[in-house]
């Protein structure tokens, strides 16, 4: 079976890739038959494969997606955003699920929780940005439930009753259902009513194998019992929890709780974002707190209680899993569509282009793609920079466009798509493009690269120099390509959000900036270190290894220090110095061993001395607030279990 799962994941990745490419091309050209066919096949095959396993709702969702595509193939529905967006959401969801499936062989709970949202999207019942996880509460008790309530003698009323309305599917007998037998399994049935639906079939027309009944009942058992009983037929049953207040049996202060199984359409609830943040904070704390169980287990073991240790560890494991789901669910609740940022652009572009006297169209795509609220909000400025760049320097004026036989109206694209747990945002234009050769020359002039590098580097890599600090502000550059002010600023704000920025360009054809960002702020494994009496977090992914280096092994090399590690000379830096702490506050490391983290700095390894390694911690790293945004070397902040905020360092930037 594991082998099959592995095969599934390989195949699913390919199919997801195929389908998303097809959707992209459909988006560009809705009439493209072969893309539609290809997307259909990909989804169809995926569905077939998923059907071999028990991936909960996945197959049903793929089935719905396939149906949509089938309808599009037959021309029953138009190919457009209404088709493509839900399908893309499905594909992204599958993509996100693959990793978990590969590891556990199952669909993760977090993914499963998204199923209703996807189903809603596919059936067009919900707009993408509605959060379905927060199901609405039913305000009023339906009349039928109240009527049932009145039927029960007062003495027979239990403080809590479940009103049941069971409307069996006409063909339920064919599925082996026996509705009256089913309902009679409820432990404490207080009332049972059964009627033939109107219009009642005449005896000669009535089909004995077709179920035309309506069953109503009151049970004094628990809601959970009723839910379990009707688990397989939620679409045919409505449950209402009735609670009668003492002494006022009829009107009753009844509090309805809608049956989550009843297939009701979810409604949206507005929640103050700060409440969600609070939840996220608590989830984050839990993540840290749960690790406290591990030393407890070790302690238990060392005291000879292996069994207790095992139990603690297994409980730790379970808590870890739950906290993971909780965290996933809460992050999900913070997701909003990019639309909120994207929609600010049309007016902006219109006004600016009018001012510049250029005529152009702004094409916005993928605004329904979702990301963490904070990311969406922080994207505006970098995007603004990029769009301004396209406007100012990318798009030629009309005369020049005519000269090079381009359409008179320029075009700027602002598009987003989800790829796995990342979003990819493109800002592109069909303007004059950037000449890599001239960037090369400038980079060489400015001493950013050696002559040898200049000739060896491919154009794509050379282009990235426009993001080098100060590069694009240099006057020579503005002249040559017009990539004006502040691309390095864009680069650093994207980096702060944990993303990357890339430029592609071809002379005369246009340029395209691609921002890749995480959808949410993910959990990071941090190593907490101490220096100068303060604690800092360093992402474990930045650390190659840690070492104890005897002080006597440290050698002075020119202005700095270094030591030998496996025949390589590793430059040695002190974290305190990197953070520009006063030397007096740093513990003098003259005796004994130094604790050294080996980190990457560009292509090289660098040793960084810290005073102590405190702990490892899995936590949530958030981008810096405005105040700290310009401090180099700080990647973000992390909230620790004790409520303290830890600065997370960007070692690569620091060690530069």
């Amino acid at each position: 079976m594991d082998e099959l799962i592995a095969q599934f994941t390989i195949e699913a990745r390919e199919l997801v890739q195929q389908a998303s490419e097809d959707l992209l091309s459909l988006e560009a050209d809705p009439g493209k038959r072969e893309s539609l066919e290809s997307a259909f096949r990909a989804i169809h095959t995926l569905k077939g494969s998923a059907g071999l396993f028990d991936f909960g709702p996945m197959q049903g969702i793929l089935h719905q997606a396939e149906d949509l595509l089938a309808q599009a193939r037959e021309g029953q529905i138009l190919v457009g955003a209404g088709l493509i967006d839900p399908l893309r959401a499905v594909i992204e969801w599958i993509d996100d699920s693959i990793e978990g499936i590969m590891q556990t062989g199952r669909l993760s709970e977090v993914q499963e929780m998204q199923a209703p949202r996807l189903r809603g999207l596919l059936t067009g019942e919900m707009a993408e940005h509605e959060t379905s996880q927060i199901a609405g509460m039913l305000k009023t008790i339906p009349d039928w439930a109240l009527a049932l309530h009145r039927l029960v003698a007062e003495t027979d009323r239990s403080p809590s009753l479940i009103a049941i309305r069971y409307d069996p599917h006409p063909e339920c007998f064919f599925n082996g259902d026996d509705p009256l037998e089913t309902i009679s399994r409820l432990t404490d049935l207080r009332y049972l009513g059964v009627s033939v639906k109107v219009p009642t079939p005449s005896p000669q027309d009535y089909d004995p194998f077709r179920c035309d009944l309506l069953i109503e009942a009151l049970s004094a058992g628990s809601l959970a019992e009723a839910q379990a009983l009707f688990r397989l037929i939620p679409d045919q049953v409505t449950l209402v929890h009735l609670r009668a207040s003492v002494g006022d049996p009829d009107v009753a202060e009844v509090q309805g709780s809608p049956d989550p199984l009843a297939g009701r359409r979810s409604t949206t609830m507005r929640v103050d974002p700060s409440r969600i943040d609070k939840l996220l904070e608590i989830a984050g704390e839990l993540i840290t707190e749960k690790d406290g169980l591990i030393p407890l287990a070790h302690e238990a073991r060392s005291q000879g209680s292996g069994d207790l240790a095992r139990r603690i560890l297994s409980s730790h494991f379970e808590i870890e899993r739950l906290v993971g789901s909780l965290y996933g669910a809460v992050t999900q609740a913070r997701m909003i569509p990019l639309e909120r940022t994207f929609r600010r652009f049309p007016r902006l572009v219109r006004e600016t282009s009018a001012k510049l006297g250029k005529s152009l169209d702004l094409i916005i795509e993928g605004e329904t793609v979702e990301a963490d609220r904070e990311i969406v909000d922080s994207l505006f400025e970098p995007l603004l920079h990029l769009v301004r760049n396209c406007l100012d320097h990318g798009i030629e004026d009309e005369a020049e466009r005519l000269r090079v036989s381009k359409p008179v109206r320029g075009r700027i694209w602002l598009s987003a798509r989800q790829r796995g747990d990342q979003i990819e945002i493109k800002v592109a234009d069909d303007g004059r493009g950037i000449d890599a050769q001239r960037i090369r020359t400038t980079a060489l002039e400015r001493g950013l690269i050696s002559e040898m590098q200049a000739s060896a580097l491919p154009d794509e890599e050379v282009l990235q120099f426009v993001f080098a600090p100060g590069f694009s502000t240099a006057s020579q550059v503005s002249d040559l390509s017009g990539r004006g002010v502040g691309l390095d600023a864009v680069q650093s704000s994207v980096k702060r959000l944990g993303g990357t920025l890339e430029l592609q360009s071809a002379v005369e054809t246009g340029s395209s900036f691609t921002i890749r960002l995480p959808i949410t702020f993910s959990l990071t494994q941090l190593l907490v270190v101490e220096v100068g009496g303060e604690r800092y977090g360093i992402p474990i992914s930045d650390i190659i290894e840690t070492h104890k280096v005897p002080t006597c092994d440290i050698q002075c090399v020119r202005a700095g220090r270094a030591f030998i590690l496996r025949n390589r000379t590793i430059p040695l830096l002190h974290l305190g110095e990197l953070l520009q702490m006063r030397p007096s506050s740093l513990a003098s490391g003259t005796s004994g061993n130094l604790t050294v983290l080996i980190v990457r700095s560009g292509e090289e390894a660098v040793g960084v001395v810290v005073e102590a390694i405190a702990e490892r911690s899995e936590t949530l790293t958030r981008p810096l607030s405005r105040l700290l945004q310009n401090v180099p070397g700080i990647a973000g902040t992390a909230l620790m279990g004790d409520g303290k905020v830890l600065l997370v360092l960007d070692m690569e930037e620091l060690a530069q």
Partner: protein, 84 residues
């Protein structure tokens, strides 16, 4: 035989499954004057209850199942009587 005719009465006995509804309907259709005796039935499928509700014969006896006796039968009879 779970559905049969005995002494001018349609008798349900033992486990009456969904497949027995056809025989019951045939009897009810041919002889709408007959009563249906359910006292020997141990379980009766919904499809048969539905047939009784459509043809509304007189129902004799109670069944072995206390739930049916106490809740379903009164409900059924109430439904049948309402329209009579």
């Amino acid at each position: 035989m779970t559905v049969c005719l005995e002494n001018q009465t349609i008798v349900l006995s033992g486990t009456c499954g969904v497949e027995d509804v056809e025989a019951l309907v045939n009897y009810l259709e041919d002889r709408s004057d007959l009563s249906v005796d359910i006292s020997a039935a141990t379980s009766v499928h919904t499809a048969l209850w539905q047939a009784l509700m459509v043809f509304k014969p007189r129902i004799i006896g109670s069944t072995m199942s206390s739930l049916i006796a106490s809740k379903l039968l009164p409900a059924l009879k109430a439904y049948i009587d309402k329209d009579r």
